[in-house]
Symmetry: C2
Subunit: 628 residues, 2 copies
């Protein structure tokens, strides 16, 4: 059998390598490929379409599409209005801000966004975190203007952060929030949000603005005297109603409209009820008078200097990254249903611009909402036009229907929020995590309890820390396998996994399953020497033929650094002293390159590096033949 020479990859200049590496890091999706060899005009059009996808789908837009978009648009409005008001309250903001935020951002997004089904507006998690983090240092009831200022400023920084992530193509940063982490985080947030709603469901007046579970529970039960049975009754009834409708829609996706219409229905019914009872009792807290008219400009309210600037920036960063993660995830989900992809970085720019614009027009942080996007998709929404329809409908509400909300009880908002966030508690996913990957499950639980007992930022950072630690652990303690030959083939495989795989006498074949880095080079060296020791003991025990050659299968060694190179070199020397031959099999391109550059390759010599384990074994054992 002929032996194939191991070849170095073609020579490339440092600059060329760097260029390629950077383009892999920042432009993995090769966004410029449609631009290749086009006329200037086409390029311009393409560029315009890249920035404003509306120019892409706009021209093909037709009446048939418009019809379905109208229907879906109106459907999501019925959801967007009550949710908008509720989420605004969740952020401790006046309800009207929630409606403002369902008007401007959707318009902006419909121009910049590339997702067909994403329905943008206020989202629960971001609203709740903004509310909690701001309330911990500023109280809305005492300093409403300052609080508003901070809310808009945080929104502004969130947008700035999101847009710049997209522009500098750093989208991959959000990938470091692993799914496991998010499951735990969302569940934790959902639990706290739901508990906080007990305020409005029980009609409690004095409530903590802390976000840990302990103080929340305490203030629920300490204010027993403030509970009003009317509110409790109403709230409980509404909650049951909403949860039932949700359950129905979950069971029968065809009946999605049941849960879609439920919130508005319950708002209308409860409002009417309270209106009729207005002279009998005032025990049920209501939203109260809301100003008419559309978004006032708020650019003048942005807060760029003063003691709370750092707070605003911090809040901006956190809600920015979280709302981004949610938005992108939702976008990807619905894109996948039509098996097309969305360009993460592009979406980030869209969401960022939307929030910057929002912060200047009295809107708080917005993103793609899962619940509304799902309704949008089910109601047959075909394009971003459904967002435009929605914001049009919201404008009408703002201009004409505001007085109707005067008697809307807070209890219904609480019920709506609970129904919305309850879906975020995905315990089945946790079971699955536990079954498949214990460390992922740990990360998930940590973020859950971190959020519940300590705080949102801490919970998040713990979880991210664990995720990163997991990577580092995998790198610093890689697997090393003993390989054996599967009879009648050239295939060499893990002897533990394949019972039929046979060890080859006087060879020790080790597979290294990781890059060789400074972080694991010492470990690998010691581990390999231990393998050899154990092998030799084993040989002596059942007097087999003496060990002569160690083959390292480098297939999975996808990178090597200077420490790694030194380790290999040292290992070779140590083994030589013990008259053992060290051979490398199938080193990948860049590893081979580095071995060559560091002059290590020459030390291994002609019979030191082979293309496959099989060839190494055949060649070396044949070279032994002549000897007695």
């Amino acid at each position: 059998m002929e032996i194939h020479k191991v070849e170095l990859p073609p020579q490339r200049s440092t600059f060329h390598k760097l260029k390629q590496r950077l383009s892999e890091i920042f432009f993995p999706d090769d966004p410029f490929y449609p631009f290749k060899n086009q006329t200037f005009f086409t390029k311009f059009i393409l560029g315009l379409q890249y920035l404003f996808p509306i120019f892409q789908w706009g021209p093909q837009y037709n009446l048939r599409l418009l019809r379905s978009d109208l229907i879906s648009g109106l459907t999501i409005t019925s959801l967007a209005i009550p949710q908008g008001i509720s989420y605004a309250k969740l952020a401790n903001l006046p309800p009207i801000i929630g409606l403002y935020s369902s008007f401007v951002p959707p318009l902006i997004y419909s121009m910049f966004g590339s997702s067909k089904h994403l329905c943008v507006g206020p989202v629960s998690i971001a609203s709740m975190i903004m509310g909690s983090m701001l309330s911990e240092s500023v109280s809305f009831t005492q300093q409403p203007t300052l609080y508003l200022k901070l809310a808009f400023t945080a929104t502004f920084f969130a947008g700035l952060f999101q847009a710049s992530l997209g522009i500098f193509r750093l989208g991959f940063i959000i990938d470091f929030l692993s799914k496991a982490t998010l499951i735990g985080f969302m569940a934790g947030a959902a639990v706290i949000v739901s508990l906080q709603q007990l305020k409005s469901l029980l009609g409690i007046v004095h409530f903590t603005n802390k976000m840990q579970i302990v103080p929340v529970l305490i203030s629920v039960f300490k204010q027993k005297n403030e509970w009003s049975w009317q509110t409790v009754l109403l709230g409980f009834f509404l909650l049951v109603f909403l949860l039932t409708t949700r359950y129905i829609s979950l069971k029968k996706p065809k009946l999605f409209w049941v849960s879609a219409a439920a919130p508005l229905t319950s708002v209308i019914l409860s409002t009417i009820l309270v209106f009729l009872l207005r002279n009998k009792t005032n025990a049920i807290a209501v939203i109260g008078a809301l100003p008419k008219g559309i978004n006032p400009p708020s650019a003048n309210l942005l807060y760029f200097s003063g003691p709370f600037l750092t707070l605003a920036i911090k809040v901006g960063l956190i809600i920015g990254i979280l709302s981004l993660t949610e938005g992108i995830a939702v976008g990807r989900t619905f894109a996948a249903l039509h098996n097309d992809q969305i360009d993460g970085n592009k979406e980030m720019i869209a969401i960022g611009v939307m929030n910057i614009a929002g912060s200047c027009s009295s809107c708080f942080v917005t993103s793609g909402s899962f619940s509304r996007s799902a309704v949008n998709y089910n109601a047959g929404g075909k394009s971003a036009v459904s967002n435009i329809v929605m914001s049009a409908a919201v404008v009408v509400t703002l201009l004409l229907l505001m007085p109707l909300f005067h008697y809307t009880p807070n209890a219904v908002l609480g019920a709506i929020i609970i129904t919305a966030v309850i879906g975020l508690i995905d315990y089945q996913a946790v079971f699955k995590l536990w079954k498949v990957d214990k460390l992922d499950c740990l990360a998930c639980l940590c973020s859950f309890f971190g959020v519940l007992f300590i705080s949102v930022p801490v919970g998040l950072s713990i979880a991210v820390g664990i995720s990163v630690f997991k990577i580092l652990l995998h790198v610093s303690r890689p697997n090393t396998l003993v390989l054996g030959n599967i009879p009648g083939t050239n295939i060499f495989h893990n002897v533990n996994q394949y019972k039929e795989a046979l060890r080859i006498p006087s060879f020790l074949i080790l597979g290294i399953e990781s890059p060789i880095y400074f972080a694991n080079s010492n470990y690998l060296q010691e581990r390999i020497l231990r393998f050899i020791r154990e092998e030799e003991e084993h040989i002596i025990a059942n007097n087999g033929s003496t060990l002569k050659c160690i083959i390292l299968d480098m297939t999975a060694v996808t990178a090597i650094d200077t420490s790694g190179l030194d380790t290999l070199c040292e290992l070779r020397k140590t083994l030589e002293k013990r008259s053992l031959k060290l051979v490398l099999a199938n080193p990948v391109g860049n590893v081979l390159e580095k071995l060559h550059q560091s002059k290590n390759l020459d030390n291994f010599g002609l019979r030191g590096v082979y293309l496959t384990v099989g060839e190494a074994v055949t060649d070396i054992s044949s070279s032994w033949k002549p000897q007695p």
Copy 2:
């Protein structure tokens, strides 16, 4: 050709897996294997020998060994005394502390340490960092007692930290200080240390206690008026002398004793000179009177409460980890020369205990010194006894010879320090780094300039940050290769690296060179889809046979997490919709396990997972045959 079934690894319980994983993490060197099936007594003896290696080599010790140890011991003493005094000054401590630290720690180490050639005592880097970090908040001249207290306390915490790293078998933590990082760091420290010595070499009285290069240079040239030509003359002469001897020994390793004897010689000569000139001039600063007698106890000086405790702990951590890194590195180097290994964790315990004991007997931080160990090795030191000899000689000095050092000029200490640290500036290594690994080189330069211009901790953390970032980058942007078949074989290899490798019509074979994690799953999905797009475009361009099947070579995918599993599943669905078949080749054990646990394996089905790319190709293309 027969197709081999892909087998799951044997079932193991979660507990068993966890046990194995943990033992790989904490006991990779399997320290207990000599204890296996031994009598209790043997176990006891072995345990004793494990804790106190002296019981291991003690019994075999003989006169011949003693002779060589005596010679080497005395040789290193001649180096240890001047270096001890100098390094104490480097830490802004009274010179006598340097001698104290060359007495107790070596004794302790000779009992606990497992290295034959390691010579312990004060070391330049750690002393310099301790001096700088402490001096920035406490000045020795103003508060000598507090400064002493902090120095001993820092030493104590350093020892505690080192010992606990060893006991809890977390030795691998120091591996995260990559070699590249250390090269840059050491060089930076060496430059600053050398510049600081200009104080004593030029005879400057008022000198900054800052550690950045700028203030140091400023105070060198601002105090021109304080320069004394006699000191400059003497210092310059001594420096030239020492550097020459160092150069000679470097050229001719046989003449190692030249550089070994030089420091003491220069101390003696310069002292005599200054003694003779004592009535002519007092322009040359001298050490002055030193107390006689051996180490006073200092446990009572340890400082466990008060404003500076955090400082002491911080300093302790940093000098602890740095002296540890140096000590272990030196130990490994000399162990490798005799191709035996040293047990990192054991060494850490030894060094830790040595420092804890030292902190209670007026010693400051000590570790294995490279220069002295080298001399020890060259002078034929055979065991830790040479350390005992050294400390005995130091005791004699402490008891009788202290008055002789009264007229030793500070200039000679400065010259000795410069000669000692100059070797740490390894510019060739930097060139090599640049040639082999640009990112390593960047880390190196960053730590160099970080130390030079900002501060030691910052420089270090930047460098570690870059090293870790490098790992994460490699994980979040892994290589993906197109594989081709090498004619006449079953070998599939990177088509860019192997020109003869041929693509197989209507197959696209991709090699993924990394674990599939949350950090890269999105990237990989997009990248693979892009590969497919490009392939299809390429096919259309030169109307080849349509693409039917994508094979992922999973050999290098050494791990997968839940996000990765979802990605694979999604990818399969997406491709199915486009009537493309997705096939996995050679998934490793734990990946296969996870695929199985997450029910993904069943989705891939019988003809979805193969043992090798070759078998996949043969089987699938044969399955196409019947179709027209």
